[in-house]
């Protein structure tokens, strides 16, 4: 999967895309599509939809590379496009099976990734939440969605997202104190 542009930075590749360089788009695609695919796959069980969303996302990159603001990460920008494309691809809304949305917790894993102790405690607290609350935390905190967008992703009313978010915050605060 490694082609041209491997040694160029994301921002440089994006600049080349703005001049109509297809190889640069291919470079960005090879670099970012794999992790976007996995991350989208954890939020949408249908691989066909995920691939459509990826195609849409990189088409948007090709057509409007200038919407990237010079500050910030290209990866964050791409994820922002991808998650919103996923949301519109999932209309009409239907509830997702929770077990596909949130993988079952593996207790041994978090201390590997979470590099400081406080983070580790938070991880335990998050894993201890019910799947519903965890999904809301994931959508709102980690994916940076608004409560309305999270509601769309999770197939519940926006008010439900807000109340679940409040409950999740309370439980986390209790677990950490």
């Amino acid at each position: 999967m490694e082609r041209t542009g491997v040694e160029m930075s994301d921002v440089e590749l994006l600049g080349a895309v703005a001049t109509g360089d297809r190889d640069a788009l291919r470079g960005l695609y090879d670099r970012h599509a794999p992790w976007l695919r996995i991350r989208l796959g954890r939020r949408c069980p249908d691989p066909g939809v995920v691939e459509e969303v990826l195609q849409d996302t990189f088409l948007a990159v090709w057509r409007k590379p200038a919407t990237f603001q010079a500050r910030g990460e290209v990866g964050a920008w791409l994820w922002g496009i991808a998650i919103r494309r996923l949301l519109s691809a999932m209309r009409p809304r239907r509830a997702l099976p929770w077990e596909r949305l949130v993988a079952p917790p593996v207790p041994s894993a978090e201390d590997i990734v979470l590099l400081d102790v406080a983070h580790g405690e938070l991880a335990h607290a998050v894993d201890a939440l019910t799947p519903e609350l965890r999904a809301v935390i994931q959508a709102v905190v980690m994916d940076g969605l608004s409560s309305r967008e999270a509601a769309q992703l999770l197939g519940v009313p926006a008010g439900t997202v807000r109340t679940r978010m409040m409950r999740a915050r309370t439980q986390l605060r209790e677990a950490l104190s």
Binding site: I38, E51, Q55, W62, P104, S108, L115, A123, Q138
Partner: protein, 305 residues
């Protein structure tokens, strides 16, 4: 803190040394990683080139994943426009937005060839002016040069079915702008090689540039003006015939003259004629501006006012 398996830093790159192990990335890719750890890793993945590469490598080991990656790219490649041509990159470098550059630079494949052929014809005229005794070469150049851009315009619109012709019909710009942009491109492409060639003519120095440049401008603008009534390629044919009709009487007298006398005597090359060309050009521009809404519309409606 322990790293149960896989050496830390396997995916260390020069820019992003990373302590996340390959085993952890594999757990994540296979969906075995818990929610909080996966969430933290996802936040980390946004910015870590080494881990992005690690995920790609872990997923790339799976043939299905690789096939999906390639087939999505293949569909994406169909969606994106073809690679920009040299002319298009040049236009972008000159400061045109990419979509305008596409419009300007996209051309029927034959257009470039035609411009080359016409330029070669002009070159032959120059050669004839040197080698022949009479003024035939000079005259050929002075009559031919003004219609080169007009022929260019005719060719640019000649193939109704070609994609860019349709692009001009459906592009989200006023059709006027599209036609004007493309005509200007064609005219420029046709005139640029003709100018240095005209300097090579034995009897036509820099001061005589006006002899053919003015008729060229008049012919191009007239073509645009007529194109508000009929299809551009027919308008171009009309203008060419009109120009040849004007130039023909001069040609019949030319055989008795030398090149210098040709320019000194023929009415076509006198100040009065040049004033006329300027007048025609100005009138044509007024017509074009006045009737711009009718320019470059549906070719099927050509002829309807």
């Amino acid at each position: 803190m322990t790293y149960p398996s896989g050496e830390p830093g396997v995916f260390e790159s020069n820019r992003h040394p990373c302590r996340v192990s390959i085993e952890l990335l594999r757990e994540y890719v296979s969906g075995r990683l818990g929610a909080s750890a996966a969430g933290a890793l996802e936040l980390h993945l946004i910015a870590c080139a080494a881990c992005q590469q690690g995920v790609a490598a872990a997923g790339g080991a799976d043939a299905n994943e690789r096939a999906r990656h390639e087939s999505t790219w293949a569909r994406l490649a169909l969606d994106i426009e073809p690679a920009p041509a040299v002319a298009e990159r040049l236009a972008i470098r000159l400061g045109l937005p990419p979509h305008v550059a596409t419009l300007v630079a996209s051309a029927p494949p034959l257009r470039t060839a035609w411009v080359l052929i016409l330029t070669a014809l002009l070159g032959l005229s120059v050669l004839a002016a040197y080698m022949g005794q009479g003024p035939a070469g000079t005259l050929a150049f002075l009559v031919l040069a003004p219609i080169v851009p007009v022929i260019g315009v005719a060719i640019a619109y000649g193939q109704v079915g070609e994609p860019v012709g349709e692009l001009a019909g459906v592009a989200p710009y006023p059709a006027f702008k599209v036609v004007l942009l493309r005509t200007m491109t064609v005219v420029t492409a046709a005139l640029v090689p003709a100018i240095p060639l005209s300097f090579l003519l034995p009897a036509v120095g820099p001061s005589h540039l006006l002899l053919w440049l003015l008729p060229a401008v008049a012919a191009s603008t007239t073509t645009l003006a007529v194109a508000t009534w009929i299809r551009p390629e027919r308008a171009a044919a009309f203008t060419m015939l009109a120009w040849l009709a004007i130039a023909a009487p001069s040609a019949t007298r030319a055989r008795f003259l030398s090149s210098d006398e040709l320019i000194a005597r023929l009415p076509l090359f006198q100040p009065a004629a040049q004033v006329m060309f300027v007048t025609v050009a100005v009138l044509a521009v007024i017509v074009v501006v006045h009737r711009r809404a009718l320019l470059g519309g549906d070719p099927g409606l050509g002829g309807l006012p």
